[in-house]
Symmetry: C2
Subunit: 235 residues, 2 copies
DNA sequence: GTCTATAACCGGATAGAC
DNA sequence: GTCTATCCGGTTATAGAC
């Protein structure tokens, strides 16, 4: 654990912190307005009233501004989810609510996300939501799904219980991937996908209770475990 | 259907065709040797003995050279697969053989593919293996899996039969995605993944025969059908 | 040490002459 | 079909100011 901010160690004085914040704000605004490709570092710097080189003092690359997006994105999401996580007991409704909210709150960044996913899809990059460097935000995000399960009336048992929050997070990433490319009016296709797939997912979770299913479930979990060590050099 | 080559309509004279071919050859060699990012258009042009501008006359962007890679990649694969497709009857062994061969033949391009997937993961791009523009090569690739099934002793029935070749192709893309990020010695992790996952996949295919499974299978297929129309503007 | 600015460099892409 | 000249934007080197 190194601790936070990829952003060059910078921003440790009153003025520095403010400058950094100003850059982030301008960047996010430009991202919403013009998308990722349509936003230039020169443009951000100009808006923020700093020189180009100075912007690079705070963020060592354009990509690194993405971390700022992840943070804002998560905060907006969890805030909007509280009512559902607090008030609803039915598993399917909880899951449905969290996923729909994720899409809704991300809407202003639709164009941006389209172009983002190109960089984010590459687990090489520290900017990938799957990378070590994003552990912090990712864990917060996985936690939402832990709450989805724990706060519901459906009890999950066996090996599945441990893995489920992370699996649901991955499932959410799949939804996002779809949304990113969804050009339908108001992203109605994505909402349809959410409805149909949560139905399936909840069924599968409940199927886990049937003893004859256990070997298949366990074998699948074992496979997923194998999928993990992408970054290690193990033989 | 527009027909082939994304490459600007160019290359229709004797000399033109040769120049184009020379560019492709130099590009692929450089891709193998230095990866995608490590290869510059200027470098390719120089090796091919043409000017930078001229290279752009034949390929309207660096990305468009990727089409050339897809083509070579597919040809090498199918050639290497013939023995298995002709000689083996067991479904699992056929599938295993085809997937292993895919990885083996792609090995010289491992570094290249790492960087490639960044661009290819974006279905926006005409370079994505999922895009309309790549229908031609993709169909050829899906066809390999049709042969895997048809030539095997296992009979597949129901709605699954129609979709299975395409599903297996998608599954192969998943394997490739894993391989691309696999840093283990000789990509042993990927081969392990292939072994374990084909086992699971073949089991699932055979499970399809059990009547009680049908509703779940059909519901899943319906969901997958919903997943398709990513590019349309449907309500 | 923390911050800021100016002037390059590099490589993908385009314009336009021949 | 081919070239040269140029643009554009991410990134870096470097030098100074607080």
């Amino acid at each position: 654990m190194k601790s936070m901010s990829q952003t060059t160690g910078a921003g440790r004085t009153r003025k520095g912190g403010e400058t950094k914040e100003r850059i982030v704000d301008c960047a996010l605004r430009k991202f919403r307005q013009y998308g990722y490709d349509g936003t230039t570092m020169r443009g951000i710097a100009e808006d923020a009233g700093v020189s180009l080189g100075n912007a690079y003092y705070y963020f060592k690359s354009k990509d690194h501004l993405i971390t700022a997006y992840y943070r804002e994105s998560h905060e907006t999401h969890i805030e909007a989810c509280e009512p559902i996580l607090d008030g609803e007991k039915n598993l399917k409704k909880r899951l449905l609510g969290v996923l729909r909210t994720r899409v809704e709150t991300s809407m202003p960044y639709h164009r941006f996300s389209m172009q983002l996913f190109k960089t984010a899809a590459d687990p090489e990059s520290p900017l990938s939501p799957f990378s070590d460097e994003q552990t912090e935000v990712r864990d917060l995000s996985v936690d939402i799904f832990r709450r989805v399960i724990d706060g519901s009336s459906t009890k999950v048992s066996g090996k599945l219980a441990t893995e489920l929050p992370m699996l649901l997070w991955t499932y959410q990433m799949g939804i996002i991937l779809y949304w990113v490319h969804d050009r339908s009016q108001g992203c109605s296709q994505t909402y349809k996908l959410i409805d149909h797939s949560t139905d399936l997912v909840v069924r599968l979770i409940q199927l886990n209770r049937l003893p004859p299913m256990r070997p298949l479930v366990n074998r699948t979990l074992k496979l997923l475990a194998d999928l993990k060590p992408l970054r290690t050099n193990g033989a």
